[in-house]
Amino acid sequence: MTATRSVKLEIRAVGQRFERTQALSPTSLSVAEGEFVSIIGPSGCGKSTLFNIVSGIREPAEGQVLLDGADVTGTPGKVGYLLQKDLLLPWQTALENIVLGAKLTGRVSRDDRDRAAALAARHGLGDFLDVFPHALSGGMRQRVAVLRTLMLAKDVLLLDEPFGALDSLTRMEMQRWLLEVWAEYGSTILFVTHDVDEALFLADRVVVMSPRPGRVEHVLDVALPRPRDLGTFTEPAFVALKQELLGNVYGGPAAEPLPAGPWRGRS
């Protein structure tokens, strides 16, 4: 990434409280146009709270969300949002699920359906347009969910552990596919994950959050060359970054050997 890119999304001292507990300390994060930012942290670190606020479906207790410089705090419908659950409507076909955004905000036009069908065809779902979700595999369902988000044509995508429920082979395939999609559309992506490898493989920057109260702990630049592929996982630079990130996430130097346990020394 270069410093010349303009700021797409600015999270300005956004904080949230539920009852008396601070769910999210005032958090600031600035995301450049076309940047891919991974957010990693344990459960309860306020990632989902942050996403709900950025997507506009919850009002923060304090702070603002700016999109292209305009205040969009508490305004839904400005960014694309995708969760771990694919949340496809079981009574709609794959195609009708892809055009759900148009259906929810108005009428689905002939044009919307043609675009969705062409999009699906290009992303390996061409033969499954008229299939109900229960007949699709987990990877295909999540692909439909991603296409549903892309159809909204939003510049900013919030992806909340979208591949968390997939098996590791499908997940790796989906990660590579997401990078292709991202390269093609030039979207700005915020990506929540629990997986250190996934965070590094995808992102330009990794934000480490920690719980009670949720806050940003570290920010790590990932200066790995693109396009990235399977070889990226074993590059020395990747391994070094992973070591640093593991240390950040688990709060200690990752190079330190594991404590001796009862399973040691038996072999």
């Binding site: 709900n52 997507s55 506009g56 479906i57 839904p76 419908g77 400005k78 960014v79 949002y81 969760l83 659950k85 949340l87 409507l89 079981p90 009574w91 709609q92 076909t93 195609l95 759900l100 955004g101 259906k103 929810l104 905000t105 002939r110 044009d111 359906r113 043609d114 675009r115 069908a117 062409a118 999009l119 290009r122 347009l129 008229d130 299939v131 109900f132 229960h134 007949a135 909204l152 044509a153």
Partner: protein
């Protein structure tokens, strides 16, 4: 489909239930013949059919009258139950207020309500209709409420994040989730409410329906006519159930296969290349 996942041919699906009914009737005829049961205790199938044809003008009028009560009450109860469930799901205090009253109302024998209804509404169509509607009402409310409660709130959040209004979310996300439980309730009550129509007619007997006819023939110990009446009631129940099952089949295609029915499939644009241009432009 059977357990091996193979499609059972249509004729097998039609023949098996019909054969089972034939066996039942044959068994009935055999029992009457073998034990020499007199027709005033248990008429044979032939005597029952004879009783139906002999009294056909009155029975057909009765069947029509009962069907009217049944259909009107069924529709009223379904519509009422559905609306009440929707309001209960949307407005928390209404649900809290109505739920215990609804449950208590189910503990009251329908016959007792029938007597009160006759006092209030007279001997016309109204009390019978209300009895049938009451029978349908409760299962519809409970099942539709369950369907609405089963909607994933994350799905609702997602729809909101897409900028959907409350009304759109209700129509697109919540409403279709009620179809399956609604049809379960309707299939169950299709048969109960025929009983309801009979009870209603016996409580408020003025116009001659099958319930009135049943009471009359019973008082004359006319067993063949009683059995003929019962057969017609059973037919009404079966037809009602079949109609609702058919409606369910049409309304919930995602439950019976993986591919959408033809009318719900995507018809591609005349020129696919043009569609791709649209994607690139969008």
């Amino acid at each position: 489909m059977n357990r091996a996942g193979r499609r059972v041919p249509l004729w097998v699906r039609g023949v098996v239930p019909l054969a089972a009914i034939a066996v039942l009737v044959a068994g009935w005829a055999a029992v009457v013949a073998v034990f020499g049961i007199p027709s005033y205790v248990l008429p044979s199938p032939a005597e029952t059919v004879a009783a139906i044809t002999a009294d056909w003008p009155e029975l057909s009028r009765g069947a029509l009258a009962t069907t009217q009560v049944f259909v009107a009450g069924f529709l009223a109860g379904t519509a009422g139950g559905f609306l009440v469930a929707v309001v209960m799901a949307q407005v928390d205090w209404v649900r809290r207020a109505l739920y215990p009253i609804l449950i208590a109302s189910q503990a009251v024998p329908i016959i007792a309500i029938g007597a009160a209804l006759v006092i209030w509404l007279g001997f016309g169509l109204a009390p019978k209709l209300v009895i049938v509607a009451l029978i349908v009402f409760f299962p519809v409310v409970v099942n539709v409420l369950d369907g609405l409660a089963a909607v994933d709130e994350d799905m609702v959040d997602l729809a909101r994040a897409m900028g959907a209004s409350r009304r759109k979310i209700f129509v697109t996300v919540r409403l279709p989730a009620t179809y399956t439980p609604l049809f379960s309730a309707l299939k169950m009550t299709a048969t109960f409410s025929v009983t309801g129509a009979v009870l209603g007619e016996q409580a408020a007997s003025s116009s001659g329906g099958l319930g009135t006819y049943l009471a009359e023939q019973q008082s004359r110990l006319n067993a063949p006519a009683v059995f003929g009446d019962i057969v017609l009631l059973a037919v009404i129940g079966i037809v009602a159930f079949a109609l609702i099952a058919g409606l369910e089949w049409l309304a919930t295609p995602w439950r019976r296969g993986s591919l959408a029915p033809k009318r719900r499939r995507y018809r591609p644009a005349a020129d696919p290349a043009q569609a791709l241009d649209v994607v690139r432009a969008g």
